[in-house]
């Protein structure tokens, strides 16, 4: 396959509350304002899982639900890729702090939430979706790596939901992994043109330098969370403007994404 069709997208970050509300900001028509995200509980989860879902799981769900709602996609039909640099560092903090005490009493819920695939597990439970899902990390290149994984997973029968997300670590981990804010983005990719009102992308290796956002506020966001490394692509999507952006890959090279509406 050489082209992938974009069926839907979602976004969730402070001041970027969903795709519909964010398009004007991404087009430069509305100034960005850093508003904290409103409290949120994934409505799709059964009560037990909703109670146990961590901050990073909620971040993933916000973006994923937005993408599902934007296009009226039936999420039960989708295979999925969840990409996160760090999974849940609040859980990591609680576990490592507990292990530093003599009692070493770890919460069983914290332990099962500590797996990198917690969000994908909760998502499959919420959607009663038994399709395959995979979870990866590529540090700051997690969006690019996730996009390649999702693109490779798309086939004629199978559309794929990509969710890229990271929450903010609590101190003292925050000093070692300083993400400025929580964020998530989601993309539904398809091999079928008819179902994809948002346009199409081609993917190629590239030696060109990494693209940035011209708008300084968006550029600061791009650097604030690995999920928002997607912003140069999302700017094109919002403007419905054909162009190529280069996103840093997990190896040494960039990946060129050529977008056409």
């Amino acid at each position: 396959m050489s082209r992938w069709f974009i069926r839907s997208v979602g976004i969730a970050a402070p001041g970027l509350a969903g795709w519909h509300a964010s398009r004007g900001i991404l087009r430069g028509e509305v100034p960005y304002a850093a508003v904290a995200e409103t409290p949120y509980a994934p409505a799709l989860l059964p009560p037990n899982e909703r109670r146990r879902a961590t901050a990073s799981v909620r971040q993933a769900f916000r973006a994923a639900e937005d993408a599902v709602n934007v296009a009226g996609v039936d999420a039960r039909e989708l295979a999925s890729v969840f990409a996160s640099s760090d999974a849940d560092m609040a859980v990591l903090h609680r576990i490592c702090a507990a292990l530093a005490q003599t009692s070493r009493a770890i919460s069983p819920t914290d332990f099962h939430n500590s797996v990198h695939n917690a969000a994908s597990g909760y998502w499959s439970i919420a959607m009663q979706n038994t399709a395959l899902t995979t979870t990866l990390s590529a540090f700051d290149a997690s969006f690019t790596a996730g996009l390649l994984e999702a693109a490779a997973l798309v086939d004629a029968q199978r559309d794929v939901l990509l969710v890229v997300y990271d929450a903010v670590a609590p101190p003292p981990l925050q000093a070692k992994r300083p993400l400025a804010l929580p964020a998530g983005v989601a993309v539904v990719l398809s091999a079928r043109a008819g179902s994809a009102p948002l346009g199409q992308i081609a993917i190629a290796a590239s030696d060109a330098p990494e693209s940035s956002c011209a708008n300084p506020a968006l550029e600061a966001l791009r650097m604030a969370n690995p999920a928002l490394r997607a912003l140069p692509l999302f700017e094109l999507l919002a403007a419905q403007r054909a162009a190529t952006v280069n996103l840093r890959g997990s190896g040494d090279a960039c990946v060129a994404l050529s977008y056409a509406p």
């Binding site: 990591l92 490592c96 770890i106 995979t134 590529a138 693109a151 290796a205």
Partner: protein
Amino acid sequence: MRPLAITSYTVTSAVGAGRDAHIGALRAERTGLGEQRFEDSTLACWIGAVAGIESVALPRALARFDCRNNRLAERALAQDDFLGTVAAARERYGARRIGVFIGTSTSGVRQTELAYRERAAASHENLPDWFDYRTTQCTYSIAEFTRQRLGLQGLASAISAACASSAKVFASAARAIEAGFCDAAVVGGVDSLCLTTLYGFNALQLVSPDICRPADAQRRGLSIGEAGGFALLERAPASGVPACLGVGESSDAHHMSQPRPDGSIAKVAMARALGALPPERISYINLHGTATPANDAAEDAAVNSLFGARVPCSSTKGWTGHTLGAAGIVEAAISLLAIEHGFMPRSLNTRALDPDIHAAVLLEARSARVEYVLSNSFGFGGTNCSVLFGAAP
């Protein structure tokens, strides 16, 4: 999927370093598990520790990656001329055209545990200066270490889906090669001992005080081990060479830490791995077989409904312990050894088979031609993955 040649593979676990150590231990029925404590753990249980990790030195240029998990990777990469085979492949394909897909569940978390311990002892607010998040704790650390250690410059990912992680790397690599994102791939898995998993599984009451006894009527849970393994995958294998022939994945959509009891969705993953191959063609199934009561029962239900009681099967966790994110690659290596040597290992430590388990669990080792092997890996989050190995057609 199209078959992928397995040009080279290697495994290091509590049993020993490299393929010869593993086939030797499998034949001799010599477990790598020991009733010992990991560092200052206070838990009375059996563990599968790789001897001598503490003294492994990383190459100077990669010193910032130093942690138990990356030392284990370094030890594993040095076996069976894996480094040499990848170097030759790098010459053939170019460094940018070989992808890296490494499974792990906890990556370098031991380093974070040590940092928090030092912080608590000193009553500091901050973590110590020596703690480097990106190169040790971060899930991606193991994939980036492997990529740099092998001199590769293409795409790299850490696949982290709990205990199915390094089975799923075969699927990710196959798809990336099919999509043309790379021409070949290094897949692998590395997980190392740490207090997080020992105390975490203990909190869930899944750690056996006894040595793990898969499928046994009196099994009491798992024994945790550590391991690292790698394989080089290439497209268009010559007929007859060892190959990965299929991968199947599915999601239980049931519970975060318990399998769907009827195994119906795990069965879907197995069936997808088989593709068009009839179930009766499988010579041997390497079970996930963690030896927890619920896991073995659910897997048995899945195996039974697809294969009946005809296909010989066993868990090899009695040798290695449950190596978590490395279990997929360890058991891929054992599957390939079974094919190469015509040897099916028995279910080690199993004394009396659980009468509720109906699959053909091997209580004695068997020597016979092994044509196709199915290897199962399941994990938290309800993730299921089965991989089919055999000679390329």
